[in-house]
Amino acid sequence: MRRVPLYRWLAAIPGLLILLGVPFANRIRARVLGMPFLLAWIVACVLLTSLAMAIVGRLDDDRARRERK
């Protein structure tokens, strides 16, 4: 089986931050930009998802180009 390139694991990070991070984020009472911490945490994870997928997409494109050469 072909090895999965390491950078692709980036895609899993935001999801793990949601699933594993929410139990901890739920305990923090601070406010971020006026929002409850839990909501701010989730918004940050969503932004991070977009960033991670853009990076993985770019790296996959580069890789495909290299392989075609």
Binding site: M1, R2, A11, A12, P14, G15, I18, L19, V22, P23, N26, R27, R29, R31, L33, G34, M35, P36, L38, L39, I42, V43, C45, V46, L47, T49, S50, L51, A52, M53, A54, V56, G57, D60
Partner: protein
């Protein structure tokens, strides 16, 4: 007629017109009608998928849950993001296979992969059963919008009947092309309206987000964090997991991936869609803003909060525009759901049972089933008292049961047998049906168990049962164990 209702009628006329225009000059074969002839580029697929994903559920359900439940509503913002990161890897695989084999529907995929027609019928039935609550919630939303913007002139049942008639006409006229064009209009409207409301209302009523959340925390302590019991952290995480795995298992979401021109569409969407999803944040703000302004909406009444607070803040003309945006967010997905459910029943349930039926008969049946499915949905809309969000969660409980079977079908040789897959799906779906009909919950059945376990979303519990049965039956119905088959499948590709 008040100005709000006039605006609503105007938008309805425009979307019907767009449906007709989109249809002109094309002969409508079943493929044209249901997957648009597979010629849509990135933008169109994006809009079509967004059209299905950002629905009345988002607009009225999202604000309704923020209003009525508080922090548990945040789950709605989570699962899309996870689903999009999965989609980057999953959808190109589905698309390549579907294009190579000229597939039309989700069931076709399972039939081809597992070589079992019976499995296709089962998958189709699960899809239709899951789609019904999804359609019901769109109709509920339409009913709420029409009756609220009429300022009491139209009762909810009358509003539901008007809406469903419009929906049926719309679907029969235009098929998928109509959805795509109206989706463009809808996306602009919903974006503008949701963001504007989410910024304006908190400032107008509280002077900002900070003061608004302070006021809510003061009036309802603990409302902005997940409770220790009930919709606890455990419920939250299991629900996010269930819904993110089920996201693309909806028959319409699954088959709308077939409409893409190339697989790069999905890679782009995986980065863009999460941003687009932040619209939800503003929808939450609107629901939160309503809490102290229009208090006292309990149960499913909470779904009215967005429109009630809008009526408090704006003139009827503006309320009409907000209602029109809501109308489109129900009409586009509603039409896709109705179209998908009736196409599935004709193509993937009726045809395998009546093999001699001609293409034309099946296409006619698909159209003929549109009003029938709509009537079933109207029945549940008018008889049930559920709020919008629990209706969608019910659909997810069903549709996510397809995920394990899909995942195991992806390698060159499926890792499970048709019998195993069918037994697993039936187990999962039966568990859901039994618990929801009898009203049994884990918390009630096992009160002495810790709430970390009993708060788990029942859909996840059903999926675990599904996987156990799937693996056992697969092992029994094949001499080689699934693990050995997996090793073979992997070594084949090495």
């Amino acid at each position: 007629m008040n100005p709000a209702l006039v605006i609503l009628a105007l938008f309805l006329a425009v979307s019907l017109g767009l449906g007709l225009l989109a249809r002109r000059g094309r002969t409508m074969t079943l493929e044209q009608w249901s997957v648009g002839g597979r010629g849509f580029g990135a933008l169109f697929v994006f809009l079509l998928m967004a059209g299905e994903i950002y629905t009345t559920f988002t607009f009225l359900g999202g604000s309704g849950w923020a209003y009525g439940r508080g922090a548990p509503a945040f789950y709605i913002l989570c699962y899309g993001a996870i689903a999009y990161s999965i989609s980057y890897f999953l959808l190109p695989v589905l698309w390549r296979y579907a294009t190579r084999h000229q597939l039309h529907s989700q069931a076709d995929f399972f039939v081809h992969k597992y070589g079992s027609t019976a499995l296709g019928v089962l998958v189709s039935l699960v899809g239709v059963v899951a789609l019904i609550p999804y359609l019901v919630l769109q109709l509920k939303g339409l009913g709420i919008i029409v009756s609220e913007t009429s300022y009491g002139a139209l009762s909810v049942p009358v509003a539901v009947w008007i809406s469903v008639s419009a929906l049926v006409v719309y679907v029969i006229l235009s098929g998928v092309h109509g959805s795509a064009w109206t989706a463009v209009l809808k996306d602009i409207m919903i974006l503008a309206v949701a963001v504007a409301l989410g910024i304006y209302l908190p400032w107008r009523f509280y002077g900002g987000y900070g003061p608004m959340f302070d006021a809510i925390e003061k009036a309802k302590p603990g409302f902005l964090t997940l409770p220790a019991k009930g919709m606890s952290v455990s419920w939250f995480v299991s629900t996010v997991l269930l819904t993110s795995l089920g996201f693309y298992m909806w028959p319409h979401a699954f088959s709308s991936t077939y409409t893409a021109k190339s697989e790069s569409v999905f890679r782009k969407n995986a980065a863009v869609m999460p941003l687009y999803q932040l619209v939800l944040l503003f929808v939450f703000f609107t629901g939160f803003a309503a809490i102290l302004q229009v208090p006292g909406l309990t149960g499913s009444q909470a779904d009215l909060s967005l429109l009630k607070v809008s009526k408090l803040a704006f003139s009827p003309v503006v309320v009409g525009l907000i209602g029109a945006a809501g109308l489109l967010t129900a009409l586009v997905p509603g039409s896709m759901i109705l179209l998908t459910a009736s196409t599935i029943l004709a193509k993937n349930v009726y045809r395998p049972l009546a093999r001699s039926a001609s293409e034309e008969t099946v296409a006619r049946l698909a159209r003929g089933l549109v009003p029938v499915v709509a009537l079933v949905a109207v029945y549940f809309t008018l008889s049930g008292g559920d709020a919008i969000v629990p209706l969608l969660l019910m659909g997810y409980n069903f549709v996510t049961q397809l995920f394990p079977s899909l995942l195991l079908s992806l390698p060159e040789k499926p890792l499970a047998t048709p019998a195993g897959v069918m037994a697993g799906i039936v187990t999962g779906v039966a568990t859901i049906a039994w618990t929801s009909l009898s009203g049994i919950t884990l918390a009630k059945a096992f009160p002495e168990w810790p709430s970390v376990v009993t708060d788990l979303n029942i859909g996840i519990v059903a999926m675990i049962a599904n996987i156990v049965v799937l693996v056992l039956v697969s092992a029994l119905t094949r001499r080689r164990s699934p693990a050995a088959a997996a090793a073979v499948a992997f070594s084949d590709r090495a």
